[in-house]
């Protein structure tokens, strides 16, 4: 199964994409061939559970129509990595505002797990940054993650960014304490001050709640189903 996933990933990289039209007797020089990038890294801290660090990386490298996407997120609590995942995807621009992505996700914590990842990313009407990604694990478990956010300039440099993430599973995943259906929601408001476009300190108030069957499982284990956290961090764009 892993080999198949790898083959799928490599296949996606090797895919030739849209062929360039013959420019006839004109040689396209200096134009359109450049590689650009946007990689946004956030790292923040919350004073709970003995000190909780979190990182979140989202970005792309590539041209206008095809890009390699890199995503990673994780949590370190009390000096120990509780969650860590890395996604590597290839994306094709299919609409002015939308890219289709295909790639892999590798979890390192809480347990090693490999997934095939497929989704869309783009800008929905009313400027909602939107990511919807489906994951199929090597165990055959299917899950869906939907993320949306919106930048609201309070002033030219002070940006309020409400954001929400919703997770759903097609089946129970007992080893992770997850029940089928919507498993959890996280909603927050980030307030950041863009000293430059590339560097901004922020505060982020995040409310997280387990949902449905997943919440029942958590309650049964005596775990919190709802937490609210105030984080302080910095955001950098590379």
């Amino acid at each position: 199964m892993r080999k198949m996933l790898l083959a799928a990933l490599l296949g996606s990289f090797a895919f030739p994409g849209t062929g360039r039209a013959e420019p006839g007797d004109v040689v396209a020089m200096d134009h359109g061939a450049e590689i650009f990038r946007r990689i946004v890294v956030e790292a923040d801290y919350a004073a709970r559970d003995g000190g909780q660090w979190r990182w979140h990386v989202d970005g792309w490298i590539g041209g206008d129509s095809e890009r390699v996407w890199i995503r990673s997120e994780g949590k370190i609590e009390d000096g120990r990595a509780e969650e860590a995942e890395l996604q590597l995807l290839y994306g094709w621009n299919v609409h002015p505002f939308w890219d289709v992505l295909l790639g892999v996700r590798q979890d390192f914590e809480p347990r090693g797990e490999t997934y095939l990842a497929a989704g869309v990313t783009g800008l929905a009407p009313y400027f909602f940054e939107t990511d919807a990604t489906a994951f199929l694990s090597t165990e055959g478990d299917l899950s869906l993650r939907l993320e949306q956010s919106l930048d609201i300039p309070v002033t030219q440099k002070l940006i309020a960014e409400p954001h929400v993430e919703l997770n759903a599973f097609a089946q129970d995943v007992p080893e992770r304490g997850i029940g089928a259906g919507f498993s959890g929601v996280a909603a927050g408001l980030q307030l950041r001050y863009e000293i430059t476009r590339r560097f901004a300190p922020y505060a982020d108030l995040v409310w997280e709640r387990a949902l449905g069957e997943t919440a029942s499982i958590a309650r049964g284990r005596g775990e919190d189903v709802e937490v609210t956290t105030l984080r302080f961090g910095v955001r950098a764009m590379f």
Binding site: A21, D25, V27, D30, D64, F97, P125, Y126, F127
Partner: protein
């Protein structure tokens, strides 16, 4: 307001003086021979000393003074560590001499190499030169003045070049990278929550919200009038504090050769207290028209004659259309005098009405690009039907810009005046609304329809066919395109030698695009009948259309592109190929397959040292 200074090294003062247009020297003293050297030099902008590519050590480079009928021989040496090129904007010449890398076998000038351009001068007027490589043209540029063979129809006692420019201390390639990473990178004029509450107080909460939702639905930003900020604005390389000064005597006629040589800036140019008599547009004589103000697209030129009946000093004031800043110079009886700086105008917001075509534009991505038959039902172009846009069509009025042949004869500039009058009434709002706003009531702003060629172009045949060129793009990704295709993705436009074609520029974006064709003039369809003015660059305002006609008399592959630097660099260019006569006779179809033009596919040919013939 930004404070900027550009200091030019002393040895280049001589060339600067030339660029300044001190024309006390008789033209005959200048042969058509010039040596230009492209090299890095230190330039001071905004108190920062940065390295920029320059021509002969300065920004701008020397003014080239040529004469109609003579032969120009210009050697460009590249002493930079990157390839360069030099394009002679608006000059009629063989394709290989045009200086656009990748076209007609010219492959640029490699580091350490030089290239000798030679061409016969078949025209007169005000032109300019600039690099056509990468993002170099913001600092590698200069003016060209060609004296007519016959005595000029509008004599003047004094004659000055007024080369408007913009320059950023940033590396110009980094600017493009920043825009690709975040198209709003330089926009610090976004509409904020505070603005929203301000608008809600003025217009009511519902109206303010409705407006936000309308723009949000389109995923567009009405403050997006300029992509790049942080520019210093220049006249002949001098920023406002340096006060470029032109000397005049009361009662004398002074010809000002206005050139917008900026990378990204459209300017509103005026001289408070003086009427400007426009006598030439893009190098070609027009019947004189007196105006108070001219909106100049990047690469446009207007020759104006002023005849002050006072002592002055008068301020030549060129405000960027996003109101980020201004360039200024002074007309004075002696050095050191300074005229008053006019009050700055409010920043404009685009109005929903401006966006008639652009709304359809993004939806138009899926449009099946119905070919223009001209005269047919084109009103729905960019409109509401047939391209799956999610309703909402009643928000913006589609202007009737396509109600027949004459429907789009430059009426946009007309609106400009009316809008202006409407918006700068005593109760003018704090912010101007609309692409074409901010002009004072009663002032005469040059409209394209005011331009009438002094001599009618010989060819008055109706066009054989029309070519539709939609100006398109995706601001979220900072991709700018023609007919939804980036440069290199679309097949070149092919026309037969002698063919007469109309090009319809339909702007589906929310930015104005100054569209430029190399190698030929086109006739602007502005309602002037047989006296259509000849131009090489035309502003197509947001959501509007402009059409031009040309007779394909110059064989070669000619770039046709938006002259905003980063629009061109991100793809807003195509090739306009005029097939040689023999091929045309051989019956090659306009969209025909291949053609044995003397064009090289070899990426090295042109680099060889002295490419001059």
């Amino acid at each position: 307001m930004m404070k900027t200074r550009i200091r030019i090294p002393l040895p280049t003062l001589a060339s600067l003086a030339l660029a300044g247009g001190l024309v006390a020297v008789p033209y005959a003293a200048f042969a058509g021979n010039y040596d230009l050297t492209v090299a890095k030099a230190k330039v001071e902008i905004d108190g920062r000393t940065v390295e920029k590519l320059t021509v002969n050590g300065s920004v701008p480079g020397p003014t080239l003074r040529l004469r109609e009928g003579e032969k120009a021989t210009i050697t460009v040496a590249n002493e930079a560590d990157e390839p360069t090129s030099m394009h002679w904007h608006g000059i009629l010449l063989p394709g290989i001499m045009d200086g656009a890398p990748g076209f007609n076998g010219f492959m640029g000038i490699a580091p350490g190499a030089s290239y000798t351009y030679t061409f016969d001068i078949r025209q007169s007027g005000t032109y300019w030169y600039h690099s056509h490589t990468g993002t170099q043209d913001q600092s590698v540029l200069g003016a060209i003045v060609i004296e007519p063979a016959a005595p000029p129809p509008f004599p003047a006692e004094r004659d000055y070049v007024v080369l408007l420019g913009d320059i950023t201390p940033e590396n110009s390639d980094h600017v493009l990278r920043n825009l690709k990473a975040d198209p709003g990178y330089y926009n610090y004029n976004k509409r904020t929550l505070r603005d929203f509450f301000g608008d809600a107080r003025e217009q009511g909460f519902g109206a303010a919200l409705r407006d936000r939702l309308d723009w949000g639905e389109m995923r567009m930003d009405p403050t997006d009038l300029a992509d790049v900020t942080g520019y210093a604005f220049l006249v002949n390389g001098k920023q406002p504090a340096e006060n470029e000064t032109f000397i005049f005597r009361k009662g004398e006629r002074t010809r000002l050769r206005l050139i917008n040589g900026s990378a990204m800036t459209l300017f509103d140019v005026r001289i408070p207290g003086l009427k400007m008599k426009v006598v030439a547009a893009d190098g070609n004589d027009v019947e004189p028209v007196s105006v108070d103000e001219i909106r100049m697209g990047v690469a446009e030129r207007y020759d104006v004659i002023v005849e002050p009946d006072g002592e002055g000093p008068y301020t030549i004031f060129a405000e960027s259309i996003d109101r980020a800043g201004y360039a200024r110079a002074t007309l004075a009886a002696n050095e050191g005098a300074e005229g008053p700086i006019p009050e700055r105008r409010p920043r404009a917001l685009l109005a929903m009405d401006d966006m008639g075509a652009a709304h359809g534009g993004h939806a138009g991505y899926d449009m099946d690009g119905a070919k223009d038959e001209h005269g047919g039902a084109r009103d729905d172009h960019g409109g509401h039907e047939g391209h799956g846009h999610e309703g909402h069509g009643d928000v913006h009025q589609m202007d009737d810009r396509h109600d027949g042949h004459d429907g789009h004869d430059g009426h946009h500039m007309h609106e400009m005046q009316h809008d202006g009058a409407a918006h700068e009434s005593p109760s003018a709002p704090a912010r101007a609304v609309g692409w074409a706003s901010g002009f004072p009531e009663g002032s005469k702003v040059l409209a394209y329809e005011d331009l009438r060629a002094r001599a009618a172009p010989g060819d008055n045949r109706p066009p054989d066919r029309s070519i539709e060129m939609r100006l398109t793009g995706n601001m979220e990704r900072y991709v700018w395109t023609l007919n939804d295709k980036r440069f290199g993705e679309a097949a070149p436009i092919r026309v037969r030698y002698g063919e007469r074609v109309r090009i319809d520029f339909v702007n589906e974006t929310m930015m104005a695009h100054p569209m430029h064709l190399h190698g030929m003039f086109f006739e602007l369809e502005n309602g002037a009948g047989a006296h259509r003015p000849l131009k090489d660059t035309v502003i197509v305002p947001p959501g509007k259309s402009v059409s031009v006609i040309l007779t394909a008399r110059e064989v070669g592959a000619w770039p046709l592109h938006c002259h905003l630097l980063y629009h061109m660099a991100s793809g807003m260019m195509t090739a306009f190929v005029v097939e040689p006569p023999d091929a045309a006779e051989a019956g090659i179809t306009p969209d025909g397959a291949s053609l044995p033009l003397a064009i090289s596919h070899d990426g090295h040919g042109g680099h060889a040292g002295h490419g001059g013939m």
